[in-house]
Amino acid sequence: MTESASQSALSTAQPEDFFQLLKPRVMSVVIFTAVVGLVVAGGDLDWLSAAIAILCIAVGAGAAGALNMALEGETDALMRRTRGRPVAAGRVNKNDAMTFGVILSVFSVMLLGMATNWLAGGLLLMTILYYAVFYTLLLKRRTPQNIVIGGAAGAFPPVIGWAAATGEAPWPAWLLFAIIFLWTPPHSWALALYSAGDYARAGIPMMPVARGAKSTRLQILIYSLVFVPVAVAPGLLGLGGVLYLAVSILGGLGFLFLAFRLWRSRAGDQPDKAEAVGREAALYDVRAEAKPARNLFAFSILYLMALFAALLVESITALPGLS
């Protein structure tokens, strides 16, 4: 059939647009941290169930991203960093994105529960609701602490991975949660320092918009001072080994150095001059005064990945036959 019963245009959205709704870059971090949680936990989960669990966690995180984009389309269109997203750019209808997110949420939670256990399924459901409803609808526009509280959503994947592998969520899983939770504010605020103009235009009270750059730089330093010891803790408490301890301490010192340098800088004092120019790829292309913020933002990603990679390497090499 080549005729439509409606005058309204049929969507020309491509499958790639729907894939972009899943926030693939965020999803890759979710997959990585969930894999680490699952592997470090041990347990007797077979490889097929483990693979299905990781797929479900990834799709569930993607579904939360799709719901976020559906709910935030108008706001995203006001920000240079996000205006190319499928809903903001008008390539995908808001209702289609919402339906897509809801269907993927239901299927991923159900399948994870069936394949592993319902603690993992319940945690995934809670994560999706936390991000899509609690953070996006309730927190984001109401408080400059949005990213602090909302950051918990990004911290759940290793706990879900752990629960999928063992059916439990003991304290080491929550230690991994705490690492990501405390990492999120300095990471996000460093980015916000050089894209504050975008957030102000969109009416989002990110810390640099609501409290100013100076206060944000101080809070980044304070959070860094809390975060780094927590990042080192798995090495001291037996969850990580010598490799982890070395990576966490050396990287932690680098993190603190960059946070201190950012605190001493004037990054974000002139947000319109400091922000990235135009393209999303220009996140790393900022003016001189904002470089300390850009450097901390970039290093924070590297540090988090290195911490989890160290845990993963130590867990894998401790497996029978590889040590």
Binding site: E3, Q7, A9, Q14
Partner: protein, 61 residues
């Protein structure tokens, strides 16, 4: 009610979306089948172990 002819772009996009949905559905069916087989196997193994140990038969967790 007015009918209008769909543009080639709309038709092409719809075909691609339909193929993607079909692929996702087939993938989902395969996954559910695999999970079902795995759960059956776990329960059969648990049943055998319980019987061998003289313990009450329960579902595997």
């Amino acid at each position: 009610m007015t009918l209008r002819r769909l543009t080639p772009e709309e038709l092409s996009a719809r075909s691609k979306r339909n193929l993607a949905i079909a692929g996702a559905l087939v993938g989902f069916i395969v996954l559910v089948f695999a999970v079902t087989v795995l759960n059956l196997k776990r329960n059969i193994d648990a049943r055998k172990d319980a019987i061998a140990a003289g313990a009450p038969v329960e579902y595997a967790r």
